[in-house]
């Protein structure tokens, strides 16, 4: 197999065949410690599972003073070499789902081993090539014989403790029965699949578990479902015990026993499930794929700092970070003004796409999200996904430079405005003059130490930009006037139009001052 093939197979689950891969299938449920099928399995915080009885003895943990709860004072050393850490006793609950799944496998195997079948499987043990295991070479290979098909026979020797975890098996071929054996193994596996099916559904989404994570109390949910549950409550949805799970679940290891088992047994289901989730999270296959945050006003090229605490927006931001890191920011339509074709919706229909530059999660689950405005858009249609809005949006672009020039030439050529006609006067100013008017105003206000131009503000928004297209966004970000007024910049299609709006603000402020 080439390296490329190995990589590409990672994204899709690869199933195991009941007859050909009987050894590998049985290994999936063998305890690495006692080599028998896992009994009362405990999935440790590192994601590995062992039988409860195979856990090393608990010992008093040294030098632990926080959080000082009785169940955390004792611990075990993880028996898995790739972990090797100390796990507190409280984190070693029996894995409920894995336990049930193994019980149903054991039940089916017990039925099949009640009586002998017409098939005999002869298994020769192959020890893995180990440089240190020189003694093993001198021993004669162990031969096991069972009156059942491969899968059942292999399970049985494992259950009897006659199949070390790392050993492979050489099945001694008997041509007369291989087809019957293959058919029997397929039937046994099907029986297992059918009986396990209901056990391995997530209790939140009712789909087969996808990237399962197991709580310290032994309950398992899809990683994404667990993350959503934690957004709402830091208690286990199943048993209500307080969850010692960090708000950032991404560092919590998956339940690897379940993942390997499900991928091997339900490869098609697992692959299509992963694909379906990706589609669902963006609001289906339609155009409604932009997450929308109805909260405040944002502007292109300007930073917007958000404190995210509502569960639905925590979910939205998390999905955002997993995809293109962008979401649409819309202002709340508090007066219920009609928004074009959408009518009096709860948001203003022009908004700014924000790009998440940094998201800092806090232990209480809230987070500080730093964003940068990318571009303006208009909402064409909207819906709700898991509590937050989603929409199909259209970019709002400025007209071409040629058109911009034509407009300027046309307006500046108008006959002079009458005395006192402020708007008329602004209309006739050149684009450069409009920009200078704004820049002059900012300089004058700085000279007077205006509060809204203090260093603290400039540290966030920077110095006024020289680019006439961007100046109004910066100006609106720092100027203390109402958001409804600033919103007027968002639907604009020309640089002139935006500068004329900022000029009208300046004239109004000046007229109030004297």
């Amino acid at each position: 197999m080439s390296r490329d093939e190995t990589l590409s197979e990672k994204s899709t689950a690869v199933g195991l065949a009941p007859y050909e891969d009987a050894r590998a299938l049985v290994r999936l449920i063998q305890c690495t410690q006692c080599s028998r099928p896992l009994r009362q399995p405990v999935t440790l915080p590192c994601g590995n599972a062992v039988c409860r009885a195979c856990l090393p003895d608990f010992h008093e943990r040294a030098n632990i003073s926080y959080p000082d709860v009785p169940a955390r004072r004792r611990g075990v050393m993880c028996p898995f070499p790739d972990c090797g850490r100390e796990h507190p006793a409280s984190d070693c609950g029996v894995d409920v789902i894995l336990s049930k799944a193994l019980d149903s496998i054991a039940g089916i195997m017990a039925e099949h081993t009640m009586s002998a079948s017409m098939i005999t499987t002869i298994m020769e043990e192959i020890r893995l090539d180990d440089t240190e295991a020189l003694d093993a070479d001198s021993e004669k290979p162990k031969i096991n014989k069972r009156p059942w098909s491969r899968l059942v026979a292999t399970y049985d020797i494992a259950a009897k403790g006659q199949l070390p975890y790392e050993c492979d098996i050489n099945y001694i071929h008997s041509t007369s029965t291989s087809d019957t054996g293959r058919a029997m193994d397929a039937a046994v596996l099907q029986e297992i699949l059918d009986s396990m099916h209901r056990e391995v559904d997530c209790q939140i989404c009712y789909n087969v578990l996808l990237d399962p994570v197991t709580t310290f109390c032994g309950h398992t949910l899809c990683r994404k479902c667990m993350a959503r549950a934690v957004d709402h409550s830091l208690h286990c949805p199943m048993c209500r015990r307080s969850l010692a799970i960090p708000p950032v679940l991404s560092r919590h290891p998956s339940n690897c026993t379940l993942i390997n088992l499900l991928n091997a047994m339900y490869p098609e289901t697992m692959t299509s499930r992963a694909e379906a989730v990706a589609t669902e999270e963006t609001g289906g296959e339609g155009e409604l794929n932009t997450p929308l945050f109805v909260c405040t006003l944002g502007f292109p090229h300007q930073p917007t700092l958000l404190r995210v605490f509502e569960p639905r927006y925590r979910l939205m931001i998390r999905r955002c970070l997993e995809s293109n890191r962008e979401f649409g920011m819309l202002m709340y339509n508090r007066y219920g003004e009609p928004q074009g074709d959408l009518g009096p919706v709860h948001f203003y229909h022009y908004g700014t796409m924000l790009y998440v530059t940094n998201a800092q999660p806090f232990p209480d689950g809230t987070s500080l999200v730093e964003t940068q405005g990318a571009y303006r858009f208009r909402v064409k249609a909207h819906d709700v996904l898991d509590g937050y809005s989603i929409g199909s949006v259209e970019r709002v672009e400025d007209v071409s430079l040629a058109e911009e020039e034509r407009l300027e030439a046309e307006e500046t050529a108008l006959p002079p405005a009458e005395e006192g006609d402020v708007a008329g006067h602004i209309d006739r100013m050149s684009t450069q003059e409009l920009l200078e008017l704004g820049q002059d105003f900012v300089r004058r206000m700085q000279g007077r130490s205006a509060i809204w131009l203090r260093q603290r503000v400039l540290d966030i928004y920077g110095q006024p930009p020289d680019d006439a297209a961007l100046f109004p966004y910066w100006f609106a970000s720092v100027l203390p006037i109402s958001d409804e007024e600033k919103y007027k910049l968002l639907p604009t299609r020309t640089v002139r139009e935006r500068l004329k709006i900022t000029a009208s603000w300046i004239r109004r402020i000046e007229s109030q001052r004297w």
């Binding site: 989404c205 959503r228 957004d231």
Partner: protein
């Protein structure tokens, strides 16, 4: 165009139809799969026995992360249910868990009919009567059940 109905809601609805709970039914509206007409029979041995109570149930956008919204439509004399049919039940509020479901919530409501709790009242007047003169309160509850919750048609 609309965001598709989550698989969870589809499966719950199917299971409610295919494996119904005795004395409880919940049917979604044709035009709104998140809105259910609910029927709960008063539990045997309680003062609501023989009554058939209608409720409305709505699954909010972020269900199952938040509890279903549910309310009695049929008038009922009960210390934990107010005149508007609102229900005081912990699992509908702070003790909601996404591992609960429509079925378990309706069973909890049926159990609440079997065990009124005047110590945590929503309807003060009813709760007062329940504590001061339980026999009279139960009699009233029986009368109301006969009057408002007797199956029509």
């Amino acid at each position: 165009m609309a965001a598709p109905l989550p698989k969870r809601i589809i499966k719950e609805t199917e299971r409610l139809q295919n494996e119904p709970v005795p004395g409880i039914s919940a049917l979604p509206h044709d035009d709104n799969a998140r809105y259910f007409d609910v029927m709960v029979e008063g539990p045997g041995g309680s003062c609501y026995e023989g009554g058939v109570f209608n409720l409305e149930l709505f699954l909010p956008d972020d269900y199952p992360m938040t509890a279903p919204k549910i309310r009695f439509l049929t008038r009922i004399y009960h210390p934990n249910i107010d005149r508007l049919g609102r229900i005081c039940l912990d699992v509908l509020k702070n003790n909601w868990s996404p591992a609960l479901q429509i079925r378990t919530i309706l069973l909890s409501i049926q159990a609440l009919l079997g065990a009124p709790n005047p110590e945590d009242p929503l309807n003060e007047a009813v709760a007062k009567q329940w504590k001061e003169n339980q026999a009279e309160a139960i009699k009233t509850a029986r009368e109301w059940t006969a009057l408002y919750a007797t199956a029509k048609k």
